[in-house]
Point group: C2
Chain length 214, copies 2
DNA sequence: CAGTCCGGAGAACGTTCGTTCTCCACTCCT
DNA sequence: AGGAGTGGAGAACGAACGTTCTCCGGACTG
């Protein structure tokens, strides 16, 4: 389903080259935008000839889709790692905002690549639009599950997701890094609120609610 | 400060033509993206010759900036109108989400034009990036003031803004219209939370807090 | 009515881009 | 050693775009 553009590969060396192209493309596309980076710039940055790039990928669009897959895996890996490091169910729900805070401070931070790709390419590439939607739905489901696992409602997961998305957009456009912590404080309030008034769908969770809501 | 690209106008007829071009450009750019719509498509849709367009605007970028100004005014007008219609200070803070819910349902909804413009053009046009940042900062300041006027903290205004931004992005990308109401319910919780625990910066509010948090 | 200006239609120009093709040096297998 | 295949460098090609220019008809002024 999510496999794209891997027609014509021949051996494992091609896989290594593919990865090199994708990593170069990822860096360039994220820094300058998808359309601003031509195939020639990609060739130069990746150190791979145009002919070879076109043996590995049938078109630029397939490279873009591969980069989005790559970014999704990186995002999912880093987010889950940050969540795993958290020690309480409550902190697991809040870990995303600390992760965002660190990301926003990266010198090359330029927002969520899926949001940018959607704005840049969605009208001309339904496949890119679908990938962005898939990514956002995946993140939403992840937050929902996290909320449920912590004894909250799935709706609370949606709300935490909205705060994270808003922080990403606002930080990217205005450059205001503090949005991650503002979102975190809002999330803390939502957690405290639901802890004191459990909803129907958040019955028997993992941690006993209402024990630390200062 | 916000005036852009109005060099070379000659009479009030030019102003009417300018408006016609901007409205056409707005519709086309929003529907298909800025780069996907060429000057020829704009000429055809606006019914104005290329020569005249280039007498009214020095470049395509100046048209884009004019469209962003135009959209900002429409947004600000509609949002303030929705807020004015609300009857309580609390409802004034929540009016934005009802406005978003109606907007999301529009058949041509494709997300926030400033977010899309940022993703599409920010790396190549600092002026566009600045306009997007200006728009988002303006919205943030508006929500902050609304919160303060209702007796809440400015930080709560920031949080409501983040929810609204997250709803816009998520609704645009996933097509899930319910995000407006999810954001609204989150906002209601944040309001109730701060009503029961007033912060230092939200002292003497308008409405008596704690009267309707069922 | 003659001349001047204005504007419409669209060709033209220069650039950029994605994609393909050419040329050639190099390698590997028999 | 010789020949088929591989891949690098970059030219070539066709399309699209922003911008400018040409041609021409029509309107207004003396």
């Amino acid at each position: 389903m999510t496999r794209q553009g891997d027609a014509g590969l021949r051996d494992s060396g091609d896989l290594r080259l593919r990865r090199a192209v994708i990593e170069s493309a990822d860096a360039l596309y994220y820094a300058h935008g998808f359309r601003a980076v031509g195939m020639d710039a990609l060739r130069q940055h990746a150190g791979v000839s145009l002919k070879l790039i076109y043996r590995l990928f049938p078109s630029k669009e397939s490279i873009v889709l591969a980069v989005l897959d790559y970014r999704h895996q990186i995002w999912a890996g880093e987010v889950t790692a940050a969540v795993e490091r958290a020690e309480s169910p409550r902190e697991r729900l809040l870990a995303i905002y600390d992760y965002l805070a660190g990301w926003f401070r990266a010198e090359n931070f330029r927002g969520c690549v899926f949001i940018n790709a959607f704005g840049e390419l969605a009208t001309e590439s339904p496949a890119v639009a679908a990938k962005a939607a898939e990514h956002k739905r995946d993140f939403r489901n992840y937050m929902d599950q996290l909320a449920i696992d912590a004894g909250f409602s799935a709706e609370l997961g949606d709300q935490l997701m909205l705060l994270a998305e808003g922080a990403q957009v606002t930080a990217a456009i205005t450059g205001d890094v503090s949005m991650a912590m503002k979102a975190r404080r809002a999330a803390e309030m939502l957690l405290s609120f639901e802890e004191t008034r459990p909803t129907a769908s958040s019955a028997g969770g993992v941690g006993a609610p209402g024990s630390h809501g200062g």
